[in-house]
Symmetry: C2
Subunit: 520 residues, 2 copies
Amino acid sequence: MSETGTQRRTRGGGRAGAAKRRGSAAIEQMPWRLPVNTDRPTEPLTPEGVEAIHDGAMRILEEIGIDFLNPEALEILREAGCKIEGEKVFMGRDFVMEMIAKAPSQFNIAARNPAHDITIGGNHILFGNVSSPPNYFDMEIGKKVSGTREQCQNLLKLTQYFNCIHFAGGYPVEPVDIHASVRHLDVLYDKLTLTDKVMHAYSLGKERVEDVMEMVKIAHGVTEEEFVQSPRMYTNINSTSPLKHDFPMIDGCLRCIRRGQAVVVTPFTLAGAMAPVTMAGAVAQSIAEALCAIALFQYVAPGCACVIGTFTSNVDMKSGAPAFGTPEYMRSTQMTGQMARFYGLPMRSSGVCAANVPDGQAMWETSNSLWAAVQSGTHMVYHAAGWLEGGLIASPEKFIMDCEVLQMIQRYFEPEIVATGPEDIALDAIRSVGSDGHFFGIEHTQKRYATAFYQPFVSDWKNFEAWEASGGVWTAERAHLKFKEILAEFEAPAFDEGRRDELAAFVARRKEEGGAPTDF
Amino acid sequence: MSETGTQRRTRGGGRAGAAKRRGSAAIEQMPWRLPVNTDRPTEPLTPEGVEAIHDGAMRILEEIGIDFLNPEALEILREAGCKIEGEKVFMGRDFVMEMIAKAPSQFNIAARNPAHDITIGGNHILFGNVSSPPNYFDMEIGKKVSGTREQCQNLLKLTQYFNCIHFAGGYPVEPVDIHASVRHLDVLYDKLTLTDKVMHAYSLGKERVEDVMEMVKIAHGVTEEEFVQSPRMYTNINSTSPLKHDFPMIDGCLRCIRRGQAVVVTPFTLAGAMAPVTMAGAVAQSIAEALCAIALFQYVAPGCACVIGTFTSNVDMKSGAPAFGTPEYMRSTQMTGQMARFYGLPMRSSGVCAANVPDGQAMWETSNSLWAAVQSGTHMVYHAAGWLEGGLIASPEKFIMDCEVLQMIQRYFEPEIVATGPEDIALDAIRSVGSDGHFFGIEHTQKRYATAFYQPFVSDWKNFEAWEASGGVWTAERAHLKFKEILAEFEAPAFDEGRRDELAAFVARRKEEGGAPTDF
């Protein structure tokens, strides 16, 4: 337990800490750590069930085919021996499995701060911020509004601040007050200066993904030769379910893998809408859509870093609205986890809810999805903090509430909780207290009390009377106050001034050049 | 899947349904069912860890001893060969294990409505209402108030109404407007007339527990000979941790087991207060406190129905306040699950939170505890609906919100979600839709859409704009509205008039006799 002891002593002041911890710190949070998921995964599929979904996915690829709306990909796959009809690609299972076998089951992504490098795969479970909502809600505004750069910056500050957030996802809210042609330049400048965690690029056209790669190179202070050696960023793409890959998504991935960067392929198969109403069918379709892209990438760059994503949920059959954090969502995530292990690929899932405000429903739906991530052996948990309304709203209160849950999951995996050495069984302590005392004051307790238990930062454990006397504040309002306190104390992470200037110059130059086309 | 199909067709109108389903029903809920927990339990302890906790528990019993403040129990245990020093009992592990081996790993408890009989043990996971809070909160009152009979009746109506509540626990709120000497008579009359589910008796003095047994006999319309043959009710006791069993608790259990009724033994070991600060120590102590009572009961009535309970959590080391739904709570529940399987005993845990109001914190803490119940292989989940403030407050809104989560857990265990037959993989459906359609209208979807997915009753899946247009109501307020609707449509379950009159006459007579002493 000595390692854990050492790690816990860094609470409140590790070099990897987001902001400096002071006596006045807004919250006392857990230290940066790459949590290790020690739980045996929950596996609802029998071996025959795994085979059935695998066979279903293979037959989709062999018999039904997937559209690749990308001429370059079609040419490569034709060369690789796949049957092509128009834009439809038919892939044999031998080819798919041969290609998939080249993918690593584990890889690292470097951050500009080496203390924030991450490992994807193995038993790690890592969390990223909410990505890509076009709208924003907070308790002060009290309604849904279009995202702005300032809101995006504030959510990036939370991304950096919380040690339980391991990687930066896409824009935590889409800053629609910045023109789309240059938005990626401004937000990436903000991301690279306000955070020092692992970066993400949208695959929305050549210019965007290549600009991000250049900016990451500058921020890391590396040459092209160094950059291409191992991942320093990643992109995440969605297929256009059913059975279609769009041009820019595949294009962006090809640009990334050819320069050594990582890709996450996440079909969005809502059962009953873009996929069969049966969960096994929705999972099989999702697997097929993901594997054919990963097979392409492995053919182009054998051994490149790929993650298989899942976004299989269901619709509300009364309204057609997407549902999240449902029992069906949990089981499909677990099933996908079994399939990811079958293929030897790292896996991504998400923290999700359909709720519109940071209330009870938001937290039971999100809890369901986060425990499904744990149960499925997920390695990357996207949208783990801040998501509302099926991903259409980002909320700082929800971000902070989610981080409480994420910290509890991190703590849940600390081996000291389940240690059973003689000092843990504590027979001497039990003997000394006997049947007429209590354990508050004894040495066994005193030696351990500071780190024995999870310490919350937004949960209120006071009794009702004390809670009422302190204002009777409900969780979402408490989270809002924490949000304000964190913003007030936030300090941007250290950044080499030369690199920062170079980054600013790059942004200025690219803006002069007009940024990226907006005809996507 | 045919059984599931049949069961699902009973949705909205099974004979076992709580209230009659009509077009105007407040909610469309899932049918009564005894959910089967098909997940492999989460087991944080190695086999050596299990042995270490077992050995710790045995050494507590052998070397440190447990106080039994019950002369009859002391006499029995002396006769059984245990060493007795004053009120302290030392039990050898051979004796404990020999006695524990007599306990059934599974048993039934009959309800007065046979459709609501339950099986404790096996792979069943069953849910009971919140029990014993002295206080009440609802959104209309808006503050914490002392419990009343009317509030208790309303919560009993919810207990009956929701098919996902399988057994009645203790009083869902303590009706302090009824004098303590006759409270059990009035509440049991209410429980037995407003619900037809499995009954509970408090072990708070001879008169109370025996009155309840008489009332259950009357309600079931059985003779004493029939009554003693198998459980028709149960009691739940807590040890007075550390290391003590009080007089009335043991007395009540002895009265129950001698007449064939079931007992649940639940130590309340808050790590850092009444138990060691280390979770393995708190679990070992809890196991020791529970096993010595169960050993006593098995010696007295070999093969009697016993459940081992856990209520191991931790305190907030800053304030001493109890914490619930923490990572430490989850792990100790899982560890206790491993120990319960080691001893071959059915297990009880709880749905718990420290939150004071039905908000986000309430739901993440409760979700954590309910998923821990699933992960631990818990058979009886006490307090599964309606608990706030560490058990000091009952809330109808929280009850209804919790029932949404319980229904999702029930749905989560339906095998159809993870079925992988050809119709589930749905290759023909995928082929027919291809890459340019959607699945809404196709026959494969149409045939299944009515029952394909979990249908919520208090979750709101509308988008923000539609949600706002319908009033922008947060979850707790929506739950309050459902509470009112359910009360308005509630119909008490059928009850033989003769038995009801006999029950009323029993209550009247016992009140004339003065009820039960109140010097407990």
